[in-house]
C-alpha cells in the first residue's frame, strides 16, 4: 500500500519520490487491460462522474438541473522501478462519453500508448487526435491479434497520418516482453522529445 518500502523510504530524505503517469488508450477491445495486466497487477479505480447528456460539457453549466452520475471503472497498475521511482499505468476509458475525464488523466502525464487494432483502425483516431492536440508524446502499438492481417508499421503510420517521429510498433500485449517493449519505446520517445526541447532551449 505504502509507496516504497517502509525501511527504504526516508533513508535518503534528500531524494524526492518520483511518480510517472502513462496513459494506455485505444478503442474498446484493443487490449488496454491486457497490456496493463501483462506487466503488473491490475487494480480498479472507480470514478463517479456527473452526467447530464452530450451537450452538458460544451454548453454553459448554467441550468443543468437534471444532473445524474455514472460509474466509470478504470484499470490501473503500478510498476516499481526502485525505491522512490514508480510508474503508474492508467487505462483510459475508451467510450466517447467518458472523454471529459481525459483532461484530468492527461495532465502531467509523461506520455501515452495508443493501442491499435488493424481490424478497426479508425477506433484509435480519437486518441491520436487527442494526444497530438495536447502535444503529449505517444507511441502507436499495433496489437497483432490472431487471425488479423499483418500490416507493415509504415502502412499504419500512413493510414493514421502520423508525425515521422512517433514510434509505431507491432506487438502482442499478451506477452509480457512485448508489452514491456511498447512501454520502453514510449519512454525513449518521451526522453528524446525532452532532450530536443532542452537543446532548443524551449519549454514544452
Amino acid at each position: 500500500m505504502g509507496f516504497g518500502g517502509s525501511e527504504s523510504y526516508g533513508r535518503d530524505p534528500g531524494e524526492a519520490p518520483v511518480t510517472i503517469k502513462i496513459l494506455i488508450a485505444g478503442g474498446f477491445g484493443a487490449g488496454k487491460t491486457t497490456l496493463v495486466g501483462s506487466v503488473t497487477e491490475i487494480r480498479a479505480l472507480r470514478t463517479e462522474e456527473p452526467l447530464s447528456g452530450p451537450g452538458a460539457y460544451v454548453d454553459s453549466l448554467d441550468g443543468v438541473e437534471r444532473k445524474s452520475t455514472t460509474t466509470v471503472a478504470m484499470d490501473f497498475g503500478r510498476i516499481t522501478i526502485r525505491d522512490n521511482l514508480v510508474i503508474y499505468l492508467f487505462g483510459t476509458p475508451g467510450q466517447e462519453r467518458f472523454w471529459f475525464m481525459w483532461d484530468e488523466l492527461a495532465s502531467g502525464a509523461l506520455g501515452a500508448v495508443v493501442l491499435a487494432d488493424t481490424r478497426r483502425l479508425a477506433d484509435c483516431f480519437p486518441s491520436v487526435d487527442f494526444f497530438e492536440r495536447r502535444r503529449l508524446p505517444f507511441t502507436v502499438a499495433v496489437n497483432c491479434f490472431d487471425g488479423a492481417r499483418r500490416y507493415h508499421p509504415e502502412d499504419v503510420r500512413a493510414a493514421l497520418d502520423l508525425d515521422p517521429v512517433v514510434p509505431v510498433i507491432l506487438c502482442d500485449v499478451r506477452q509480457r516482453s512485448s508489452a514491456r517493449d511498447v512501454l520502453v519505446a514510449l519512454i525513449e520517445h518521451a526522453l528524446q522529445g525532452l532532450q530536443r526541447a532542452r537543446a532548443a532551449g524551449t519549454n514544452v
Partner: protein, 123 residues
Amino acid sequence: MAEEDRWLDEEAGPVVRPYALTRGRTRPTGETLDLIALVTAVRGAEVDPVGLDPEHLALLAMCRLPASVADLASELDLPLGVVQILLADLRVRSLISVHHPTPPAQMPDPRILKEVADGLRRL
C-alpha cells in the same frame, strides 16, 4: 428512449448518489489532487474526530506511509472524486502532506527516464 437516458447503458453502471459522503460537495476545497500525487499522514498531528467521517480516518490510517491518490481510492473502493474531496478535507486540517508529481518537462534531470527504461527492460 428519453434524451437524458441515452448515455446510461449497462456499461455506465448504476446511477447512484455517491456524493452523499461528501455532503453533496462535488469539488474539493482547493486544487484537485493528481492521481499520482503522494499523500502522507502528518506524524504526531492531533486528530480531532469531530467533523471527520470513518472514511477520513481510514484514509489517514492508509497513508501513514506515502501513498498515491489512485492507490488510496482503489484501496478504499470509493470513487476517485469522493476520495479527492475527503483528502482535501484532511489537508485543510493539516493532517496530511502532499507531494505533487513533477511534470515531465520540469524534471530536474530527464536522464531519470533512462533509468526508467532500463528498469522496464529488466521486468
